[in-house]
Amino acid sequence: MNQFLFLFLLALFPVTVFGQQDFLLEAESFPTPGGWLTDQQFVEQMGSSYLIAHGSGQPVQDASAEIKLSEKGLYHVWARTKNWVPGNWEAPGRFLIEINGKSLSNELGLSPGWGWEYAGSIKNRGKTLRISLRDLTGFDGRCDAIYFSQDREAVLPDGGEALAEWRKEKDGSPEAPETNKAYDLVVTGGGISGCAAAMAAAERGLRVALIHDRPVLGGNASSEIRVHTLGIYGKFARLLKLIDTEKYPNGHPDAIKDQQKRDDNMASFPNIDLYLNWRAYDAVSADNQIRHVDARHTRTNERIRFSAPLYVDATGDGWIGYWAGAEFSYGRESVDTYGEEWDKWGEVWSPEEADNAVMGSSILFQTRVAEKPVAFPEVPWAAPVAGEHAAVAGEWYWEFTRDDLHQIDDAEEIRDHLLRAIYGSYANAKKLPENANYAIDWVGYLVGKRESRRLVGDHIFTFNDVRNNTPFPDSVVQEIRAVDVHYQRNLLEEDTPDFLSEALFYRNGVYFIPYRSLYSKNISNLFMAGRNFSCSHIGLGGPRVMNTCGQMGAAVGFAASLCKKYGVGPRAIYEVHLKEYMQLIEDQQETQLPEKR
């Protein structure tokens, strides 16, 4: 959506009149979010984007909205929220609802699990009501929605299908999006691979929609997660240098500079329509072909249906493929599935039996030394995770996974566990006199994932392709980086905190990823790029870093251009047009960057 339309929609909000006896106000739609941030990461699990008061211990500025309720009289107010660390301590994410500057009676964020908490009641005299969220802690209080009803006994569904249906009923939205957009290529996911796919296709003349659920591009490389880009550029240095990062330490604030570079460069492609803050929520297929992808704005909840002959799943979690019915895998295959043993490391490398102990997710944080001592609050709710661990800095090995947790289904729990690890370890360190002047500058709140669903292509890239340096006729991605597979340290040393990992490296020179690993085996118009490409758990170990993922994106973007030229699907490029495709890839090394970029 262009900026004008977005502003127009928001402008409708300041005073919204409702002629009902009840009213649902989505927190993420507050026109003035203040210091509260939009969190769209767990929509599929808990039902909606929500606002989070992520202040690293400093209460954030109020979020506010204005509404008008037409019925005069008493209204009861509930908030959908959760106590994200229930226990024998004050809930860490407490907040209040204020109406016209006056707090409702009950603190919120106190009950375990997502659900409705009663905030209090107001007398509506028919005037404009200014609704504010007042954060009390700075420690990640969260508010999904506020509900006003004149019925004190209103039955509010806590979650699942019942909540989704109830929401639909309250906002009166139709089944399907009313806005339709058609493109040559729809790329979902604006990480490095999605950006590269969009650029490659756009410069070959395709009209591209790039749907991304955050306000900034880059995914794990973005200023919101701040992992530096690793891996080589392969044939695509020209494009990838437009969106990569410097090699700063992970978490470094200079990620913001690279963010600006990336956003500017992406905006300079006239053929790319950027849909920032749009999260895809469905992909519908028929006859093994995707017909459309539906997306929702993470703040306004407006919806658009995108259609195109070709789609790229660069979501990282393989959502488009998953919804469309593409074959996928998740977890660690047994060592015999593809013969991926490495005797030296045995089970921690590849298990005898398949399991779900995939590589974990990380959250980075950045501290600085201030001129004066800086206080940090007590965080008893973090202690059960951090234990005695003390730290004023983190790195990539602050990573969390457990074989009973799913990196998608349980992502909120994983994120919250990492936040407790960070705050708890930092609080421990702050008790030491030498750390008195340390101050937290920044803590991420978006889960930086390494591994999740992997869509199955015509070729499944495995450890053996690295071990044998397999040359493919369709080698479009190359890498020299070691296969780098992680395990949790507490598997071998039980007393180690469960959020620390160890990396194992297998280096074997240059290896190649074939084009056949970049399109779906059973969905005929679906490409994939990034960590959800077709590979095994061990196969993912090397190419999962962002420049390599960027190569995949560029490769599928160029393939899409030939698909359009010949009116064919991705597989035909390998079967029929491989020579032309490989020449196109080869030519990328020679093609110069347009001067303005």
């Binding site: 699990g113 090699k247 700063y248």
Partner: protein, 375 residues
């Protein structure tokens, strides 16, 4: 002035005798394939006092020097394999100047380095010829124990890459970071004995190279029932893990030593016990009883596996209701599913525990139990 001249006349004779005696002893030990010197460091759990004999096992190659070294297998007084040992004499060269490094190195039966000793007349020295201090030995031993050291991913050129062109080294605003491990140059050098990088590097590759691989390959040939029992009793997690991996069906019938390993072992060993334990044995109360009793004290992965195996030992399910709030969300779901499967009335103590947890305001997953109790 040579060494002899530096010793006063009065002590010269006894010194000479002592030296000759040591030399004779050392020669004999060498011929016998036994260590000459007391190890400077030996990983805890290993002792040399019980060594009774040595056998030449194989030759292994030092790829840096193309020198082969003799690997010896040391046996305990009971005649069981104990450790591998090699007397290492390898040149370490810096800028074309080479000096010999002499150490006695030890490996366990899985090929993991466990310790080294130095020769009193040939101590380890640094670049400036200063002998290693005790903290240097400490650091070297720690480095050699680290199977996953960053040295494994490094060439010497990388470590001494003054031009900063190494592909794995990245620098930003004056801070150098290893592109693979994320470690800073400072952290890398902190793990290496200052002034002895070359010696550290060469010794790490000797400890973890061909020698280690060949020992691993040799293990099946010397593995016996006696050794299997020793491995289980050893207290060494790697030995226990290996022993459990070798066990098949009937081997688990003698469950007491396995249970001991389950109690004392690390999560990886526990996982293997639970995965390899035959179903028929897990159905026996004398086996599932002690296993499930440990539930509240176990690591998360073992808890999950025990819950998944409840269908084999349904009688173990009711007591677990005492530990509902110690279960993760997904573990609780597995548990409730098992309760539902067992059908009929829930035992009163289980229902009481469920109801209590369902009403616990601090229990994050109380709602799952509420849903279960009121379908």
């Amino acid at each position: 002035m040579n060494l002899l001249e530096s010793i006063s006349e009065r002590y010269r004779k006894p010194c000479l005798s002592a030296f000759l005696l040591w030399g004779l002893g050392a020669w004999w030990m060498l011929v016998a394939g036994l260590p000459v010197n007391k190890p400077t460091h030996l990983r805890s759990g290993f002792k040399l006092e019980t060594v009774s004999k040595s056998e030449g096992a194989f030759l292994f190659l030092n790829p840096d020097t193309s020198i082969t070294h003799q690997m010896n297998l040391l046996y305990s007084s009971e005649g069981e394999p104990l450790l591998y040992y090699a007397a290492i004499n390898t040149p370490v060269c810096i800028d074309g100047i080479c000096k010999p490094v002499l150490v006695e190195m030890y490996w366990d039966l899985l090929g993991d380095y466990v310790g080294y000793g130095e020769y009193p007349n040939q101590p380890l020295t640094k670049y400036d010829h200063d002998p290693f201090l005790s903290e240097d030995h400490e650091k070297l031993h720690g480095l050699l124990l680290d199977r996953n050291s960053i040295l494994d991913r490094k060439s010497l050129d990388d470590l001494y890459d003054l031009r900063g062109v190494s592909q794995d080294k990245i620098a930003y605003n004056g801070v150098e970071i290893d592109g693979i491990s994320g470690a800073t140059k400072k952290e890398i050098t902190a793990s290496i004995v200052s002034g002895a990088l070359y010696s550290c590097y060469r010794l790490w590759y000797l400890a973890h190279g061909d020698a280690s691989r060949k020992i691993r390959e040799n293990l099946p040939a010397i593995y016996s029932d006696t050794l299997a029992r020793q491995f289980l009793r050893s207290g060494q997690s790697t030995y226990r893990y290996y022993a459990v991996r070798q066990m098949e069906g009937a081997d688990f019938a003698d469950f007491a030593p396995v249970m001991n390993v389950f109690e004392e072992g690390n999560p990886l060993v526990r996982k293997h016990i639970l995965k390899k334990l035959p179903d028929s044995l897990l159905q026996q109360s004398d086996i599932y009883g002690p296993l499930y009793e440990m539930f509240p004290d176990l690591d998360n992965g073992s808890k999950t596996l025990l819950l998944k195996k409840l269908p084999l030992a349904p009688a173990a399910a009711p007591p677990l209701s005492d530990h509902l709030i110690e279960m993760s969300r997904n573990q609780l779901l597995i548990y409730l599913k098992q309760l539902a499967k067992s059908g009929g009335q829930l035992p009163p103590e289980v229902r009481d525990n469920l109801e209590e947890a369902a009403q616990n305001p601090d229990f994050i997953y109380a709602y799952l139990i509420q849903d279960f109790l009121i379908p």
